[in-house]
């Protein structure tokens, strides 16, 4: 079975210029924060925004590069998000381009779902993005989709 047979195609994506307020408004009624693909006008996948990216708002700028220095200790330290004064205008000032996570794991739509499962195991991720040959966003696939397809095949539901 191929990835495109079971992937989710109804997905919400955002652009680099989407503001933090817009992002939070889209997802305020969700019960958790999903992986949100970031694309340009041509639907090319540029990166993702995930829960961890939201924590970046509380970090100094360039901290993602600083994490490459193992002694910068940022990877060890958790930011106390309750003790931080952030400007209320930050909702308009911060855009997706500031918090985009470019460490994106993707699979092509015509690959076998076994490969998608292996990729999730390797990267320890539950959801990955699906793209075509030209790197256009086609959907997302989660381990839940894969497990459901196995159950379905076995006639469990």
């Amino acid at each position: 079975m191929q990835v495109k047979d079971i992937m989710q195609t109804q997905i919400i994506s955002v652009q680099l210029g989407t503001t933090l307020s817009q992002l939070l408004n889209i997802f305020k009624d969700f019960h958790s924060f999903p992986i949100v693909p970031v694309t340009n006008k041509e639907q090319t996948l540029l990166g993702i925004v995930q829960m961890r990216s939201l924590f970046d708002i509380f970090q100094p700028y360039h901290h993602n590069i600083l994490m490459h220095n193992p002694l910068s200790m940022l990877s060890q330290e958790t930011t106390d998000i309750f003790d931080i004064d952030i400007d209320e205008n930050i909702g308009f000032l911060i855009i997706i381009a500031d918090i985009i996570d470019k460490k994106v794991v993707s699979i092509q739509e015509d690959k076998d779902i076994k490969q998608a499962y292996d990729l999730m195991q390797l990267h320890k991720r539950d959801t990955i993005t699906v793209i075509d040959q030209e790197h256009h966003l086609k959907g997302i696939i989660s381990s839940f989709d894969i497990v459901m397809s196995v159950f379905k095949e076995k006639g469990i539901f």
């Binding site: 100094p60 700028y61 600083l66 193992p70 002694l71 460490k103």
Partner: protein, 388 residues
């Protein structure tokens, strides 16, 4: 006491000092260093001479992991993100500290191979201490952005400068009487060898990466390739730092899922760094502190002057604003982990003079870690980055 028991003590006390350091807002590395001094041979004597003799193993592993992580900074993506100004300033301040420290030490008749090494170590700074101050005062603004960018790249240039200087120093040291041509040929071969070694293994790791199925395999493979690179570099007497750094640089530019190799190390690396810094503290020869006074003072001051002039020059040619030109160097003064690592290499490679360099750097590290944060704060104040 057996070595495993000693390691157990180091880890548990290390954890306690991490917590204590967090409370009193001190970088963890300083805390490990002090812990090393306390439980080392000069005080409580929990760590035996035998363990210290074998600490070369831990330091080689720690340094190869540090170099590997820092190597990923040289990606197209990072260069685009930080921009030209940061690039120029970071190169210029690193070279500035290197050059001025060397000139000052040569002036007081320190041998050239010694001065080269001191200069190279002067280039490094301590991101942890700098970030800590920026976070503590919730500083933000353009000045802070530039500072963070420079700090991010600073150690990467530092490692390169150090590797080059080490190669030249070693060649001079070993062949004091032979020609300049021979010195440069030997240094050139050492550096060329490192680049080839790192490049080949970067390519191999990128290929094998496709066949890995889970996190355990990924961790084993990444550490395996880093050890192979380090081991071969040690065997052929070429630069471990440069080889591992270039391994990462090739990987990050070749493979767009390369972050998996770096992220997986986050699970284990801090454990090795902890042991590494505690052992570094324990091997500090406190009785030598009296001998380093003059050289130490020159190193301490000319590193500052070098950082200042280098930053000023870099800011001038990249058209940075006045705040950056005048005050950015104040933010770069803390120095800790990477410098100590370099000093430990020198200690092992140059048995007769290395321990003076190591003790000087370890002692000035403590001074820099105390006065450094104060200057970072001053820079942030002067540039109105706090509560701006």
């Amino acid at each position: 006491m057996n070595i495993i028991l000693e390691l157990g003590i180091i880890l548990i006390l290390g954890l306690i000092s991490t917590k204590t350091a967090e409370k009193i807002k001190t970088p963890a590395i300083t805390a490990y260093l002090v812990l090393g001094i306390i439980i080392g041979p000069f005080a409580m004597n929990f760590i035996s001479q035998n363990t210290l003799k074998h600490s070369g193993l831990i330091s080689n592993i720690a340094l190869s992991l540090i170099a590997f992580s820092i190597g990923q900074n040289f990606s197209k993506q990072t260069f685009q993100q930080v921009g030209k100004q940061v690039l120029w300033i970071s190169i210029s301040e690193a070279i500035g500290a290197w050059l001025l420290t060397i000139i000052a030490l040569l002036y007081v008749k320190v041998p050239i191979y010694n001065a080269l090494l001191f200069g190279a170590i002067a280039a490094a700074s301590a991101p942890a201490a700098i970030i800590m101050v920026v976070k503590q005062y919730k500083a933000r603004g353009r000045f802070v952005d530039t500072l963070m960018g420079v700090v991010a790249l600073d150690d990467a240039w530092g490692l390169i400068i150090f590797s080059l200087s080490l190669a030249v120093s070693r060649a001079i040291y070993e062949h004091l009487s032979t020609s300049l041509f021979y010195v440069f040929l030997k240094a050139f071969l050492e550096i060329g060898g490192s680049l080839v070694l790192g490049g080949v293994f970067g390519f191999i790791l990128s290929l094998i990466g496709k066949f890995l199925k889970n996190q355990t395999e990924l961790l084993i493979c990444t550490i395996g390739v880093i050890f192979l690179t380090t081991g071969i570099a040690l065997h052929f007497h070429i630069s471990v730092l440069l080889s591992c750094m270039f391994l990462a640089t090739v990987l990050v530019n070749l493979n767009n899922e390369s972050f998996k190799f770096f992220d997986i190390l986050n699970n284990v690396d801090w454990l090795i760094y902890l042991v590494f810094f505690v052992l570094a503290g324990a091997s500090l020869e406190l009785n030598m502190l009296t001998q380093i006074g003059f050289i130490g003072a020159i190193y301490l001051n000319f590193r500052i002057i070098g950082k200042f002039s280098g930053t000023y020059f870099g800011a001038m040619i990249s058209n940075a604003d006045n705040n950056v030109k005048k005050y950015l160097s104040l933010g770069l003064l803390p120095q800790a982990g990477v410098a100590l690592g370099m000093a430990l290499i020198v200690k092992e490679e140059f048995p007769d003079v290395g321990h003076i360099i190591f003790t000087t750097v370890a002692a000035t590290t403590i001074v820099y870690e105390i006065i450094g944060p104060f200057f970072v704060k001053l820079a942030l104040h002067k540039t109105n980055s706090i509560n701006a």
